[in-house]
Amino acid sequence: MIYREAGQFKSSYGADQAIFPILQDRIAVAIMLAIAVVVIPLVAGPYWLETILVPFLVFSMAAIGLNLLTGYCGQLSLGTGGFMACGAFFAYKLSTAFPELHIVLVFLLSGLGTAFVGILFGIPSLRIKGFYLAVATLAAQFFLVWMFNKFPWWNNYSPSGVISAPPRAVFGDFYLTGTQATPEIKYLFLLAFVSVMALLAKNLTRSRIGRSWMAIRDMDIAAEIIGIRPLFAKLSAFAISSFYIGISGALWAFVYTGSVEALAFDINRSFQVLFMIIVGGLGSILGSFLGAAFIVLMPIFLSNAPAALGLHISVELVSHMEFMIFGALIIFFLIVEPSGLARLWQIGKEKLRLWPFPY
């Protein structure tokens, strides 16, 4: 009886097009934001902030990027790790070559650079689809990681091949990277940054460009006959997707781990992000967050749950179980619910709207 849209009439198309047209949703979102901004930094310890919330936000960014390309535009990509590496190394080169450049600008510029790389590797999509395109993006993945590994110019000739983020402040004394950075600042910065980027992505998906991506995904022939240029639609999806993924790579290297080598962005990273959007929901921004949360939390849950239940399971078995559970879930979501957790969430809300009268 509480979750109702009855009596909430939308008097304009603008109101009907809002992301959260129902009042209760808007209240819920406001409360969640308040908790995220005020309560979590106070109650969550550094462990929670640094090993769970920070990677969750960085992964969400990557998942949004891949979802724009694969979920919305239907172009399967296995190059996510490679594009994250681009973002990380571009950011490293930029911030060391131009120390006075503001860190946010560094992130945005490395995203932009990655967008160009994305366009380049997106060109085969004009000719090939599905499986063959996936193989082409796989080539991008291997080539990019190889390149960052091979040429020491990318890590400023560091003998270990590892890049370490130079200390940079968002403003004043608030260090986001380097040893002075606190988990609270990292978390709050990422929360704000990723939220804004997610909002922009959501806006794109409900505008003309997002509809052109979905049209290409659902039926490219009909899309072209309506006046959508496949060239522009696909390459713009590659560009914007890579922009997001590049930034997430930069955030990974600079904010999450602080130092990283190219191999951190190998093919496993690509699959990890792909699993996030499959589990979370293809073609859903909310789903990108849900999938990221799920994949960050599940290993932690699996390694703690047996102990909490008093069971003693070897670490090895836990990691095997992880694979098995992932495998089962991915098959489940691909076959039964391709729209992922986001869809389950929606079904739950629809039920709640009718509750307690199911008819």
Binding site: Q17, N203, R208, M214, G227
Partner: protein, 263 residues
Amino acid sequence: MSEQAKRIGDTLLRVEGITLSFGGVRALNDVSFEIKEHEILAIIGPNGAGKSSMLNVINGFYHPQEGTISFKGRERKRMRPYVAAKQGIARTFQNIALFKGMSTLDNIMTGRMLKMKRNFLWQALYWGPALKEEIENREFCEKVIDFLEIQAIRKTPVGRLPYGLQKRVELGRALAAEPEILLLDEPMAGMNVEEKEDMCRFILDVNDEFGTTIALIEHDMGVVMDISDRVVVLDYGRKIADGTPDAVRADQQVIDAYLGVSH
């Protein structure tokens, strides 16, 4: 009908000497005809006669080996479908080609694509001119939705709609582009009598209210005789007749080739 006849203007589109082959199969063989402004032209013929191929040639989806097409006086040999769309040619397909994962409203909004100009940075902000543009075009699409009486399924993903409604949404998507010429490939195939009547009414109303020129492929001869101003008959890739419904019905060649055989 007579009132419509008065509105019919000059030639809007002319196809001349179109020949199209797929490997050894000649789908179209030296076909010429014209479509006049504001008229409803029916293209009929047995299965495999080349009707769908003809529409595909007109909107740039197939490229004929020979022949030319002139639209609004501009002659062309090859063009991409999106260029045809830009010039005002819209169409529906024999096998529905909707965007299955999108809602009715989003499908129709996508049809309006070419009327929207704001770049992606504005769209990312969803604010100011971009929001205004989005709302203005939404208003137009709502008019299309009202016109086709599909208000109730506005937010339903089209993949879940029954066949007849999908055909209607596809017409809506084509109408959203405000085309000058509308190509309909068997808009009533597989419909029951009631749905057919609705569709006929929509086609006549579009032609009447917006003055849209229509070329349609249809098998139901009753429908063809009722709504079209002129009929072109294709058989084995050749044009065998072209004239008013009554004249075509009386044509001996047509009776032999098409009306004579039951199907």
